[in-house]
Amino acid sequence: MTNMSKLPSKSHYVGPGAAQAVVSRTLSIIVDNEPGVLARVIGLFSGRGYNIDSLTVTETEHEKHLSRITIVTLGTPDVIVQIKHQLERLVPVHRVRDLTAEGVALERELALVKVVGKGDKRIEALRIAEIFRAKVVDTSTEHFVFEITGKPSKLEEFIQIMTELGLVEVSRTGIAAIGRGPASS
């Protein structure tokens, strides 16, 4: 994904907002599931120099052909507002919600983690997996594939530990998020 280390500058001309701190925000974007809609959204991010830390998308309401795109982005508060307005300008976008701004959103991610090893390391990997409530979904005498779900920070921690225990491959879904409470987006 577009994960630019440089902060998006709004203009070549130094602006007053340049001193703002960078924040991470989770945006939920409800769109018509029509051809090219994802390209429009991510093209807007790359074209205007915004960051994408995580991106997930799938159709969530089949009868209405609505998809939900969840994007975790980094930017100053001014840039985040600008991103929201720019997204709302896209014709197939129904609505954009800044889940982070509306209260702590529920954020979950799934990862498949392949660990290869023998002996103590293998036993230790299985033990750690139990602590993290990761499931073994594939195994041989030399490897495990763990399925782990949870907050991104939990996944990070698990992957960090597994790195020392023979981790060879990781696949992550990216973040799915939803607002807390009875209100719907």
């Binding site: 203009s11 001309y13 007053p16 709302e88 014709v91």
Partner: protein, 588 residues
Amino acid sequence: MARTMTGAEMVLAALADHGVEHIFGYPGGAVLPIYDELFQQEKVKHILVRQEGGALHAAEGYARSTGKVGVALVTSGPGATNAVTGLTDALMDSIPLVCITGQVPTHLIGNDAFQECDTVGITRPCTKHNWLVKSVDDLARILHEAFYIAKAGRPGPVVIDIPKDVQFATGNYVGPSNIAHKTYKPRVKPEQMGVREAVELMATAKRPIFYTGGGVINSGPKASQLLRELVRLTGFPITSTLMGLGAYPASDKQWLGMLGMHGTYEANMTMHDCDVMVAVGARFDDRITGRLDAFSPGSRKIQIDIDPSSINKNVKVDIPIVGDVAYTLEDMLRIWKSKAPQLDKAAHKAWWKQIDQWRARKSLSYKNSNDVIMPQYAIQRLFELTKDRDSYITTEVGQHQMWAAQFYHFDEPNRWMTSGGLGTMGYGLPAAIGAQLAHPKSLVIDIAGDASILMNIQEASTAVQYDLPVKVFILNNQYMGMVRQWQQLLHGNRLSHSYTESLPDFVKLAEAYGWTGMQCDHPADLDDAIRAMIDTKGPVIFDCRVANLANCFPMIPSGKAHNEMLLGEDVSDEDVGNAISEEGKVLV
């Protein structure tokens, strides 16, 4: 009532249903079915351009001079890629266009077929929206949506990419009245709270200014009328961007001239020192603001814009108002009248006195000559000799464009068409053709440069084919003048490739196309020559040989603030060479 017809017929039916009288286009393999339908009807008149880029700019000129949606029709592949510049131009300047592109048949898409390109992919970032029509059943809906989206909210260009088999396929056509868009519903009426707050702030202002832009023009003639009423009622000074010229009459005493990089001293100083700024349909572009952290530091700002993403984008404002300019000004006027606020007359008087002192600097003055035509003088004479006529002005891009903005004065909206945001050389001639087509009896002049005019000179042939008597007034200094000026400012006057060593003989060029060619190189002959140009029936290229090395002043050098302008009269070549700091050099 649904009617059964082919996709190609639907295109023509939709054009007719949306009141389209003229379209600009160029045929090719993938649009032949539509061209065949064009041939068999009389409602829609097709203007054959000489390159697709010309079609898009002509459609822009047509749209900007009429307020209608401009329509272009081009083929797949190179037809579509040639349209990209015009689409981007229209997106930057918020001009409503519908561009119909042919595409290879659906079964060939993705196979690198002859004249295939990913049109929707290429045009996605340079359109407001685009569609690839995969089934004839979707075509009628998409055609109607396209006209709606091009015009609604902040206007812009849209592309409908129609594969050839869809043009041949038969389906049901439904008229536009049955179409309601499910997601795109831009807010046009402002929140009353914001308008009330704005009026209250304006009423307390001691040093106010109206800063207006292309949004006023796009909102329609009523917006210009309301703006005039409000400005006169408040007594505030008013300036405008390049895009907004004509919304407020330049002949009025409250008018300060254009602002920004080549704006007047009084407009920029008033912006810098004001305490209340009312931005109306203007987007705080970098050509307007100059150095952002020194932009109008002491003012509270009100911004009216139909596009929420234009608000707070570059400059933080205190009172944002999302809405159409006409609706908002209507509310503002009503509230202002009902409140009838007591203004601080003494403060306003002092403010105008200060403004008059800035005006007295006469920032547009230049050293005239008896031997060579100064470019500024040429535009002044052109204005004086055409101002009482029903005229429309287009420009190319460069020094001549800025001089036109400074010295040609507009009292009405939709009379001035220039490529503001994208800065597209080659815009003016096709745009003039589009404007002339919409206003056949009017005087349409493309104020051009010797370099820009060559970028779409092929459209001279289009003007002849359709009896369009456009006048091209070239300020010929043999340089890409603005490039040369910047090289002098930034690069030690090393004039790298900004001199055109072998310009054509413009008189012969005109004649080769069937135009009248004229040349003038002496100030004493200029008035008669301009009169002769106006009196010539058909299209004219006027090769006005001007001073080669004139610079366009006043100027805010890049990276500088509104109160750090370079004024023309007392600037030495050395000042020009040192005007821009090291940091400023990286800016555009």
